[in-house]
Symmetry: C2
Subunit: 205 residues, 2 copies
């Protein structure tokens, strides 16, 4: 299925479709159309049909998409028809929020460890986790075989932490520090900072 | 400048360009090219040129873009050449993180109030803020004239909170609850949930 290179921009939209489809499924709906899905996510029906057609023929002309079938297919395409282990770096407010986050359930991920370099935080309990010393981070990531990390450290520490994660074998980084980091081509970074998200809406005010 | 309708998808990319440009400016760079910017953000140079040309002629053939000029223009287009007041709903870990967040500085926003419906949290101090009772939320938002809210309540409460915010005059919502909410056409919602962000990367693993 990965033989054909799918543009990053399309891959980026699939999780948004998936969340909306899951919302419909939870509400008891069985089928949907590109029009209806488009209204949910704010993307044109034509774009949605084009995006989904990249992966094969999922809908039938006139009858729309089976929601559960599309959910299953998207999960398979995005490789979240399994559970990925994730580490959290930084045990501040946001690290706590991520360790407690219950939105990972059934969505392909589970947090397995949280690290901090503050000796006062190391050993603290957060839900089911004990904060581990950042000094042991590389070794732990290698022994756990984890490929995904979420960074919640201050901006000034983000690049250094990123370098260490990459060396330890991390391939996907969700960076909450409000700063761009440099990684090799083989590593993907997603940014999540509230200012960037808010800036996407002020244009319309 | 808003006479021509700019596609939402382009508006959504501008804050990403802005963050990368600010990163370059902070590093002391003066000019950049669509190629260089593209490498920073993972978007093709052609797409970047096309996006930016929607707003006018900002670059010169052969000499590239002045970074500071482009930053100023993007801030003007996105209407963040001013400071917008923002309220936070929900004083859990994530609400704390947002109230403490120092990444809003110089990026167009400031948090002005935080609300919770838990009587044990109301009155608590978070940095410069005192957690206010959600019962007073609508009135406070109206009297402050705030247009932007960040929601960090549990998924089950998100729609109810959203409805109240919309009634109070909120026009932009950044929703951290991992659930789609329904709003009138006049209101914009951005979603930020870690599972969706992580799902954008597993395809490449």
């Amino acid at each position: 299925m990965n033989a054909k290179k799918i543009p990053d921009i399309i891959i980026g939209r699939l999780p948004v479709y998936l969340r909306a489809l899951q919302h419909m499924a939870d509400a008891g709906l069985k089928t949907t159309s590109s029009q209806e899905l488009g209204e949910h996510v704010g993307i044109s029906a034509a774009q949605i049909r084009k995006d989904i057609s990249q992966f094969g023929e999922f809908g039938k002309q006139g009858t729309g998409y089976s929601i559960q079938f599309l959910i299953d297919k998207l999960r398979e395409i995005l490789k979240i028809d399994r559970i990925w282990d994730v580490v959290v770096i930084g045990a501040g407010d946001l690290g706590h929020a991520l360790a407690h986050y219950n939105g990972f359930e059934n969505r392909g991920f589970r947090v397995v460890a949280i690290f901090d370099n503050d000796k006062n935080k190391v050993g603290q309990t957060i839900g089911d986790f004990t904060v581990e010393d950042s000094a042991t981070m590389s070794e732990r990531i290698k022994s756990l075989g984890v490929k995904i990390a979420m960074i919640t450290v201050p901006a000034s520490a983000a690049q250094d932490v990123t370098d260490k994660l990459v060396q330890a074998g991390i391939k996907s980084i969700l960076n909450y520090a409000p700063v761009n980091v440099t990684v090799p081509n083989s590593v993907k970074v997603q940014y999540s900072d509230p200012a960037t998200n808010l800036q996407r809406m002020t244009y319309y005010l």
